[in-house]
């Protein structure tokens, strides 16, 4: 395996560059897009080994490579396939709750009324320190 070590990466013109630290810290360490209705099914992902269905609205996202700790930043959204809502965004986003662990990310999705619910579109990502 080869590795390039540098403090900065820039375009050839020298007009745009970023530090290696900013690139390392700022890139997503994992992301996912899955369908949680019926049998949970991943559409596409990065650094996700598997999904565990923990019941209605609850899915455990298992990382392939664990984070260095549980102090990462994660976010996720759940949406229906129904276009159009009061905000006009084209999808209906509902309440979500997340728990962070070094090797897992737990998502729980609810309806607007606070009832647990599976959704056809569950998407999320993680930023932080890789192990």
């Amino acid at each position: 395996m080869s590795a390039i070590r540098a403090d900065n990466f820039g375009n050839r013109a020298g007009t745009s560059s970023i530090t290696a630290d900013a690139m390392l810290q700022g890139t997503a360490k994992a992301w996912w897009n899955f369908n949680s209705t019926g049998a949970v099914a991943m559409r596409d992902s990065f650094n996700i080994a598997s999904l565990t269905d923990n019941g209605v609205g609850a899915v455990q996202v298992n990382f392939t490579a664990a984070m260095s700790n549980a102090n990462f930043r994660g976010s996720q959204h759940a949406a229906s396939n129904t276009p159009g809502n009061s905000s006009g965004t084209g999808t209906i986003f509902n309440q979500t709750v997340s728990l962070f662990y070094q090797a897992q990310y737990y998502v729980s999705n609810f309806t607007g009324a606070g009832l647990t619910s599976d959704y056809p579109n569950v998407v999320g990502d993680v930023l932080g320190d890789p192990a």
Binding site: I18, G26, T27, L127
Partner: protein, 50 residues
């Protein structure tokens, strides 16, 4: 301080190619994990001053 200048970064196998401009535009510029109960404390952050 060293600066590597290139337009595209690619892995050793020739895959996963990505323009440096895309990396610059697409990366998160800051992130944080806070405890907002009581006195707010940061567990971990990037590019957050206070």
């Amino acid at each position: 301080m060293s600066t590597l200048r290139t337009n595209t970064l690619t892995d050793a196998a020739g895959g996963n190619s990505m323009p440096v401009a895309d990396i610059n535009q697409g990366r998160a510029k800051a992130w944080y994990n806070l405890n907002g109960t009581g006195t707010i404390t940061a567990r971990d952050t990037f590019n957050k001053r206070n």
